[in-house]
Amino acid sequence: MALARIDLPHAARRGELVEVRIVIQHPMETGFRRAPQGERVPRNAIHSLVCRYSGTEVFRATLSTGIAANPFLRFFLRATQSGDLDFWWLDDDEVQGAAQTHLVVSS
């Protein structure tokens, strides 16, 4: 089960810069660790993440194993209209994750 926490201001004015923060629960396995019996733990990291704002892509990130488990990302976007923020990500096991939130914009 993919779990994520998105943090946004409750409301924004049109044209305002909005800070978006997201934490995703993910082990971000590097592929270099070994289990107690010596076998290698296979690499499994989120490698791509996309954020769409009212259907338009506004943020894209390429992640790799240098990023700690439960990655935290922060970016800014300009509020234009009320709409959904859709996050989508994919890891090395081809497991997709998604999270959604709503941004309310007043003029």
């Binding site: 089960m1 779990l3 994520a4 926490r5 943090d7 923060r21 934490v23 629960q25 082990p27 971000m28 700690a68 488990a69 439960n70 935290f72």
Partner: protein, 226 residues
């Protein structure tokens, strides 16, 4: 000059006697991480716990506010931790995400409330003895670091008092949440000592003593530690 020295010594003595949360020994970055619910990764487990609680526990329980302040407790002569209490219905594995999530969720509801266990000094006799007993190849007791030398450095680490008020906590070393029992085992590992099994008497007695000693410190779950 002498007057100031005496005053400084008095302040040092007063500080010595006081319980200090592990947070006070943490770096600014870690404190900031713990303080912000949007950035604290431990909140992921609290969220997961809320979902599990709604599925599995909500038919009997409503609010768990204040519950975590009273655990571990002694019930009918046996030591019962919050983990053990949660496991009474469904035996989740120790350190499983489910158990950590539920424990974190319950403890989180008491965040900021002082630990208030009703344990007597007699109850913690065994744990106290274990706390002061030397162990492992390093031949050190818990007290050597966490009572006699807290605030000083061990390598790059600042030794804390080893207070349990933040657990279950998110440890950067683990890259996930972990229980107080796991933290105690991590110390034992460092001493090259035998690791007490999860839920064993030796573990529970030590845990009970730590909690008795920490009475009055605010609960910080989900705390962030190095």
């Amino acid at each position: 000059m002498r007057k100031y020295l005496i005053l400084a010594a008095l302040i040092a003595c007063a500080a010595q006697a006081q319980n200090r949360s592990g947070l006070e020994f943490a770096s600014d970055e870690i404190r900031r991480l713990q303080a912000s619910d949007a950035e604290n990764p431990g909140m992921l487990w609290v969220d997961q716990g809320a979902k599990l609680f709604a599925q599995k526990c909500a038919s009997c329980h409503v609010s768990m506010k204040g519950v975590a302040t009273r655990y571990p407790a002694v019930e009918d002569g046996r030591i019962v931790t919050l983990e053990a209490k949660i496991r009474h219905k469904e035996a989740f594995a120790y350190e499983s995400d489910e158990l950590l999530a539920l424990t974190s969720y319950v403890a989180h509801q008491s965040r900021g409330m002082p630990m208030n266990t009703k344990i007597s000094e007699k109850d913690v006799e065994k744990g106290k003895a274990a706390y002061y007993r030397r162990r492992g190849q390093m031949n050190l007791a818990c007290a050597h670091c966490h009572e006699q030398n807290w605030g000083k450095h061990l390598g790059a680490e600042t030794l804390s008092q080893g207070q349990p008020n933040g657990y279950p906590a998110y440890r950067l070393e683990w890259q996930k949440m972990g229980s107080l029992e796991r933290r105690i085992r991590a110390c034992m590992f460092g001493l090259h000592a035998e690791l007490p099994p999860y839920g064993s008497d030796a573990m529970l007695e030590l845990e009970l003593f730590l909690v008795w000693r920490a009475n009055g410190l605010p609960i910080e779950t989900p705390a962030v530690r190095r």
